[in-house]
């Protein structure tokens, strides 16, 4: 069924970024606690309990909602930090909890049934059977779809499920194995799935080698940028590796998703919400991207052409892609 108006779901890594997102027109802001319970567990980032409470109040007073990401997988034998995060987020008045782990979903459904549950992209649910299972078992209200589906595939999926869908439209891309990627674990012993951090900064080094900058992750040299070449994040999936005497991006180019042009089609496909990636980015980025997508979503809702967003300068590698929305492979 066609969506009349798309909900804009925006990231915030700090209280200042949350305010910036709300002020720029976010319908909804998602954020996490300052620990391993969320997949952006970076130093100096995220919210204390007190900050989250103030953030929820600020959002509410401006007509916006706050979602709390608890989207890592609890450690075996140590579920307490995740359970406490469920309880605290619900007590503070979060509109919904974004989770991936079956056990945590079960806990939240049983203990805090009145707080909405969203299925994180980390669960990688991309077919009707999987999504309906989460819906029927844990009464999940929304699923964040992995970045592997074309627009027609999303439309077909929406016809077979009775759950809201949220899709990524802007920001960093993973190599489409969300919740299952072990590259960061392999290089550093830490991963987004368990520790909430991909390629942790504590394992990243940049070295000035005269006319080039070399980035290293753990013991691996993963890239080398010439003087004027745009750089990307120091993740293994975006590393440049030498095969057959030629250095190239084997997994994925350093580039950002920008699916603004597909907003009218995503509305036709029955998508409920648009997600902007980037809780690790600064408040200036948040303000600029949210304002641009606010205009784009409003234009799409009014049946007008989506305006150019002018976000190239702030994208990873200073390049954009429409990702899987326009993929021509199986």
């Amino acid at each position: 069924m066609k969506t009349e108006k798309l909900e804009l779901v925006c990231p915030a890594g700090t209280p200042a970024a949350l305010r910036a997102a709300v002020d720029a027109g976010a319908d909804t802001v998602y954020c996490g606690f300052r620990d391993a319970t969320n997949a952006r567990n970076f130093p100096g980032l995220n919210f204390s309990r007190e900050e989250l409470g103030e953030g929820i109040e600020y959002a509410r007073s401006h007509g916006s909602k706050v979602l709390v990401a608890l989207n890592t997988y609890p450690e075996a034998g140590n579920p307490d930090p995740w359970h406490k995060a469920v309880e605290d987020a619900a007590d503070l008045g979060a509109h919904a909890l974004i989770m991936a782990d079956l056990g945590l979903l079960a806990y939240a459904a049983e203990k805090r049934p009145d707080t909405r549950r969203h299925l994180s992209v980390q669960a990688s649910a991309s077919n009707p059977d999987a999504i309906n299972y989460y819906k029927n078992t844990f009464d999940v209200k929304r699923v964040v779809l992995p970045r592997v589906l074309t627009v027609p595939e999303i439309a077909a999926l929406n016809r077979e499920i009775d759950v809201e869908t949220e899709v990524f439209v802007f920001g960093g891309l993973c190599v489409m194995a969300e919740g299952r990627c072990s590259l960061s674990s392999y290089a550093t012993g830490q991963s987004p799935n368990m520790n909430g951090v991909c390629s942790p900064a504590s394992h990243v080094r940049y070295e000035d080698k005269g006319n080039k900058m070399v980035s290293k992750l753990g013991d691996f040299t993963i890239n080398s940028f010439k003087e004027s070449e745009a750089a990307g994040y120091p993740t293994l999936c975006k590393g440049r590796f030498v095969t057959q005497d030629k250095a190239s991006y084997l997994f994925e180019d350093p580039t950002s998703l920008n699916a603004a042009q597909y907003l009218p089609e995503l509305m036709e496909a029955g998508v409920t919400a648009l997600k902007i990636e980037g809780r690790q980015r600064g408040k200036a980025y948040i303000a600029q991207v949210v304002a641009a997508f606010r205009k784009a979503a409003d234009a799409a809702a009014n049946g007008e052409a989506v305006p150019p967003l002018g976000l190239e300068r702030i994208t990873e590698g200073q390049r954009e892609t429409t990702g899987a929305y326009n993929k021509r492979w199986q």
């Binding site: 100096g44 504590s202 745009a230 300068r313 590698g317």
Partner: protein
């Protein structure tokens, strides 16, 4: 000159020219002003330094590439310091955990959260070295703090804040005009070079197209003979 500095090339700006003009002066004369500035920042934004405790309150080299000196910032939550160091100082003797290098105005915009640090890093306008975790923690701490250099420093002047504000605004206007003039001068100076570069880029593009066409022909022929 400051051209020997590491990091991004300093842009032609009033900051660069002021730095060159100030080079003969002993930079330590400015130290009391920076002592006052860091104390003021500590008073206004103690949370920045509190957040850095989680990464053991690192010591940073802050290097404005368009000035003939740098800063060493010690982020101890109780008593942070900002010390001027000469560009010729051996950086290994500064015992900093990380270095952040970029043009002064970009560093100030970053401090105020008016520009995104990752975007500056992608465009190579900002260079970081050393302990990346410390740099990330600092970036996140200042980005979350709503720092406003102008207003924060004005608060330091107490009852003299209003005249200080007027003086700062006048200086700001002169600075903006001078920046525009320098940009015009820079465009005029570089125009002949730019034309040459554009012509060379067009020739290279033509050659690439020819080479690609030839490669295709070779591939087709070798396919036929195989």
């Amino acid at each position: 000159m400051t051209s020997h500095k590491k990091g991004p090339v300093a842009p032609l700006s009033p900051v660069l020219l002021a730095g060159i003009a100030a080079r003969p002066l002993p930079h330590k004369l400015l130290q009391p002003a920076f002592n006052a500035a860091i104390k003021q920042m500590h008073r206004q934004h103690p949370d920045v330094f509190d957040r850095l405790k989680s990464v053991n309150s690192p010591r940073f080299l802050i290097d404005p590439v368009d000035l003939p000196f740098s800063f060493v910032m010690d982020t101890l939550a109780e008593d942070p310091t900002l010390e001027i160091v000469d560009s010729d100082t051996d950086e290994r003797e500064l015992y900093t955990q990380a270095a952040i290098r970029g043009p002064l105005l970009l560093l100030i915009e970053l401090l105020e959260g008016r520009i995104d640090g990752d975007a500056l890093f992608f465009s190579r306008d900002l260079v970081v070295e050393g302990d990346t975790e410390a740099v990330l923690a600092l970036r996140n701490a200042v980005d979350g703090a709503d720092i406003d250099v102008h207003n924060d420093l004005l608060a330091f002047f107490g009852p003299l804040a209003k005249p200080a504000d007027l003086a700062a605004q006048a200086a700001g206007n002169i600075f903006k005009r001078f920046t525009r003039d320098l940009e015009t001068l820079s465009r005029a100076t570089l125009a002949p070079l730019q034309r040459k570069c554009d012509a060379q880029a067009a020739t290279i593009e033509e050659l690439e197209t020819t080479v690609n066409a030839l490669k295709k022909q070779v591939r087709r022929r070798s396919g036929k003979t195989a």
